[in-house]
């Protein structure tokens, strides 16, 4: 695309056909300007050629002013709207177009759904022109000609033609310019009061192709900022997780020491248990051996008992021959074994007595000594030596058994003690194991978690750095572009400022100046490095209170009317700056309904005419022509007069009025008061004396 200066679109002709709102001329409302040339009556629809200067679309409420303005708008931008557009902050939002939000705008206003309705326009860009016809129902292009060449009637062709001829970076920018700069409709989008709006306009108008990629770069910077932010968030979360784990682990040296101590204690317990087990085993063997000893000792004792017993039995038999076997046995057994079979006692107290009785030859029953005995019981004494020997051996055997039994009991009790100690140790071991298990359970998990977190963190860090770099790069790129834009804007800044001053003083009494500023704008939501320096204008103004000009940041800092006019002045300043030497420009204006001060009306009207005539510089026309289309209500008669310059005899009014009373389908109001409205109209256009 050839690099050219920006050319604003100027509509020089508009035709509307088959649209019920504009059915055609109503002879009752034709304005008679007594011109030699009669304009041909329009049978169907509306047709108007716009001449340089102001054109007023005059009508009353509900007649179709807004509709007509929208037709003109849509002829230019087609069925597209900005995605996510905020009318109060035109610069915000996405640099993208989507299908228009009100697709039934035109079709819904008429009974037939505008099936056949068509609108055509001649759009001039300097000396180039596009002729486009669109169906009003869906704005589909019916025909398209560029510089008298027919081209494929589709949107993409249209767009590329627009881009080519307008010199604007892309159609989205064109759309932006048209919607926000050129058209100044009811929704009163202010462009000076929003920094982003301001910037976008300035970018488009002054930086042009240089800033072509800026939008994308900005979007990219935004996106990268978002990515970085999210990554940063994850990263930070990992950091805090890791910190938390590490804090927990910091406690670990204590736990580790405790575990180490427990392990030592456990080892000690086990060692002792083993030692005791060995002792118990050894003792068990000893016990078994001891038991065997006892058994054999008992048997040995038994034999010794029987030996001794025999001798005793012999004696008893001699002493007491008629004693039956039981008595003999019980007695002799008692003496030898010390156990009484009659009563079960194992510890007879008279044992010694009986023994000595027997040995001394006493009566075994009554203990009478031989001297008292009738028949000497111990006639044939049992050999004392044999008895003594047997007794000695018996005692020895008994003692051996006693010792064995004593040892046995000692061993048993020792075994018992050891067993109980072993039990305690086993219990302690269980407790220690449990404790170890509980403590140890944390460790490996924590370690593993920390390892995982560290690994994740490393990855996250790398990614974060990558994204940060990408973001910085994107920012840098955007900033670089911004700087270029800034340079460009600065180049034109003085012009804009000068023009602004020219324009604004017509509207605003106070001294109002425009100055350059750099505004830091935060990109995305992150604080660090996430801002760009945007060049912009700011308004300074004196007030009744302050003599020195004060910076007026927002529209609320000025009065309502001031706000409108400042915006308009800025608008015009921009257009004037850009269109210097490149060709005409256009503003489509919906005049405010509010009543205005007469002085201002005249001034405003004058200025607008100046603008339209391009005589704002020293009153000289620079050879180009601007078109200013202003729609106005009839009740603002003075406004129309001022716009048309009725009171200024130099102006030619007849071609400057789109008389909707004539052209639009009458509504109830008009039908009710046709004469009154027509009189108003005539007054407005100077066909009647304003004071008549």
């Amino acid at each position: 695309m050839r690099d050219r200066e920006i050319c604003f679109p100027v509509i020089r002709r508009v035709i509307v056909k088959n649209y019920a709102i504009f059915p055609g001329s109503n002879p009752d409302f034709v304005l008679d300007f007594h011109k030699s040339e009669e304009k041909p009556r329009q049978e169907n629809g509306l047709s108007h050629d716009f001449i340089n200067g102001v054109t007023v679309i005059a009508g009353i409420n509900g007649l179709g002013k807004t509709t007509l303005l929208n037709i003109i708008l849509r002829l230019l931008i087609g069925p597209l709207d900005r995605s996510k557009e905020d009318p109060n902050d035109i610069g915000s939002g996405v640099h993208e177009l989507r299908t228009w939000r009100t697709p039934r705008f035109f079709s819904s206003r008429v009974p037939d759904g505008a099936v056949d309705a068509e609108a055509s326009a001649e759009i001039w860009f300097g000396r180039d022109r596009i002729e486009v016809t669109r169906a009003l129902a869906n704005l589909q292009i019916r025909s398209l000609r560029v510089n008298d060449q027919n081209i494929t009637p589709d949107e993409s062709q249209y767009k590329s033609a627009i881009e080519r001829l307008s010199g604007l970076p892309d159609f989205v920018d064109f759309h932006f310019i048209v919607r926000n700069l050129i058209f100044c409709l009811e929704d009163r989008r202010n462009i000076i009061w929003t920094a982003s709006g301001q910037f976008d306009l300035a970018r488009i108008l002054f930086a042009g192709k240089v800033a072509a990629g800026f939008r994308k770069q900005l979007d990219d910077a935004n996106k990268k900022d978002g990515e970085y932010r999210r990554q940063l968030h994850s990263y930070n979360r990992l950091v805090s997780d890791l910190e938390r784990e590490r804090k927990r682990a910091a406690v670990r040296p204590g736990t580790e020491a405790a575990i180490a101590a427990l392990k030592v204690a456990l080892g000690e317990t086990e060692r002792r248990t083993m030692h005791i087990s060995e002792r118990i085993d050894a003792i068990s063997n000893e016990i078994r051996a001891c038991r065997d000893d006892i058994l054999t000792s008992r048997l040995h004792l038994e034999t010794k008992v029987r030996e001794h017993e025999r001798l005793e039995a012999e004696y008893v038999a001699l002493a007491f021959p008629s004693a039956d076997t039981t008595i003999k046995y019980v007695l002799s057994h008692l003496i030898s074994s010390h156990k009484c079979a009659v009563c079960g006692s194992a510890d007879s107290p008279i044992l010694e007595d009986i023994k000595s009785r027997v040995e001394a030859g006493h009566c075994p029953v009554c203990d009478s000594p031989p001297s008292s005995q009738e028949n000497i019981v111990s006639g044939e004494k049992v050999s004392a030596e044999r008895v003594n020997r047997a007794a000695k051996e018996l005692d020895a055997a008994r003692r051996a058994l006693e010792i064995a039994e004593h040892d046995y009991h000692q061993l048993i009790s020792e075994e018992k003690e050891l067993s109980s100690e072993k039990k305690k140790l086993q219990e302690r071991r269980r407790e220690q194991l449990h404790e170890l298990h509980v403590r140890g359970a944390d460790l490996p998990q924590a370690d593993e978690q920390i390892r995982q977190l560290e690994a994740s963190l490393e990855l996250a860090s790398i990614k974060k750095d990558q994204l940060e770099d990408a973001r910085s790069a994107a920012f840098q790129k955007a900033q670089a572009t911004l700087n270029v834009i800034r340079e460009k804007i600065e180049l034109s800044h003085s012009k804009v400022r000068d023009y602004f001053e020219i324009f604004v003083r017509e509207f605003v009494a106070e001294k109002c100046l425009l100055s350059m500023e750099t505004r830091r704008e935060i990109i995305g939501q992150s604080g660090s490095g996430g801002s760009l320096q945007f060049p912009g204008f700011q308004v300074t103004m004196t007030s009744g209170v302050f003599e020195m000009p004060q910076i007026r940041r927002g529209p609320e800092t000025v009065s309502e009317s001031q706000k409108e006019f400042i915006d308009l002045a800025y608008r015009m300043a921009l257009i004037a700056t850009v269109s210097e030497g490149t060709g005409g420009a256009m503003i489509v204006l919906e005049t405010p309904e509010a009543s205005l001060d007469t002085f201002f009306i005249n001034s405003a009207g004058q200025l607008l005419r100046k603008f339209a005539d391009r005589t704002y510089i020293d009153g000289e026309n620079d050879g180009m022509g601007n078109v200013l289309i202003a729609s106005s209500n009839l009740n603002a008669a003075n406004m129309i007069r001022a716009l048309l310059g009725v009171d200024d005899e130099t102006t030619e009014v007849s071609d400057r009025v789109i008389n909707l009373l004539e052209l639009a389908a009458p509504n109830a109001m008009l039908k009710a008061h046709p004469k009154e409205y027509f009189a108003e109209l005539k007054k407005a256009v100077g066909l009647l004396d304003g004071n008549a």
Binding site: R288, R291, D292, L295, T296, R298, L299, L301, E302, T303, R306, E307, E309, R310, A313, T325, T326, K328, Y329, V330, H333, K339, C340, A341, V342, C343, G344, S345
Partner: protein, 217 residues
């Protein structure tokens, strides 16, 4: 009064039941030797009947299995009038002097045994003792004193005289193992009751005793 411990009570009961069942099975009177032989068999083969033995040891004694503690309880039965002692003698043999006698239950003893049998635990003890004695008494008279000597556990040639034979572990109880080994001749091993096994084992002991005696001449 000195209370009898549970162990003493059991021993006393065994002694009484041995005397009672011996008489019922025609072992009249019961020699001291046979009392101890039977006591040994009851201890040794109790595992077949799921009954707790009194002792799981026996000293390999020159005069055969002998339990001094059981002797004391037998003596007590005599002292209490539940048994009588007859034919008291003190024979001398190469190993020294010994004591021998014959014991027999008295009427009081028979009544005491009758009463004791009615107590649950003692009922099954009596049953098992009667089974052992039934099998024992079924063997030939002349071999009755020798059977225990040829018992697989007691007669184990590897055990020397004077040592304590411990048959508390099943693997050490060769007698029960021998008794169980008759299973292989039965159609269904489960059909061999403990008494069958004891009976067969005693028959087997008699056979080997008889063979051994014949060999010695």
């Amino acid at each position: 009064m000195v209370r009898l411990s549970n162990d003493d009570l059991r021993r006393r009961a065994w002694a009484l039941f041995i005397l009672d069942n011996s008489m019922r099975m025609g072992l009249i009177p019961l020699s001291k030797i046979r009392f101890h032989r039977i006591t040994y068999f009851c201890n040794c083969l109790s595992g077949l009947f799921q009954v707790l033995p009194l002792d799981t040891t026996v000293v390999k004694y020159v005069r055969g299995p002998y339990y001094p503690e059981m002797q004391w309880h037998l003596d007590r039965l005599v002292g209490a009038g539940l048994a009588t002692i007859k034919d008291l003698r003190y024979p001398m043999d190469p190993h020294g002097t010994w004591m021998d006698a014959n014991y027999q239950i008295t009427k009081s003893g028979a009544l005491a045994a009758e009463a004791l049998r009615k107590v649950d635990d003692f009922y099954s003890i009596n049953k098992f003792i009667s089974d052992i004695i039934y099998s024992y008494s079924a063997q030939e008279e002349k071999f009755l004193d020798s059977l225990a000597i040829f018992d697989s556990t007691y007669g184990n040639a590897q055990k020397e005289e004077g040592i304590v034979i411990d048959f508390s572990e099943a693997i050490e109880n060769l007698s029960v193992r021998e008794a169980d080994s008759f299973e292989k001749f039965a159609q269904n091993p489960n059909t061999l009751s403990p008494q069958d096994r004891t009976f067969l084992y005693m028959g087997y002991l008699q056979q080997i005793t008889s063979d051994a005696v014949r060999k010695v001449g």
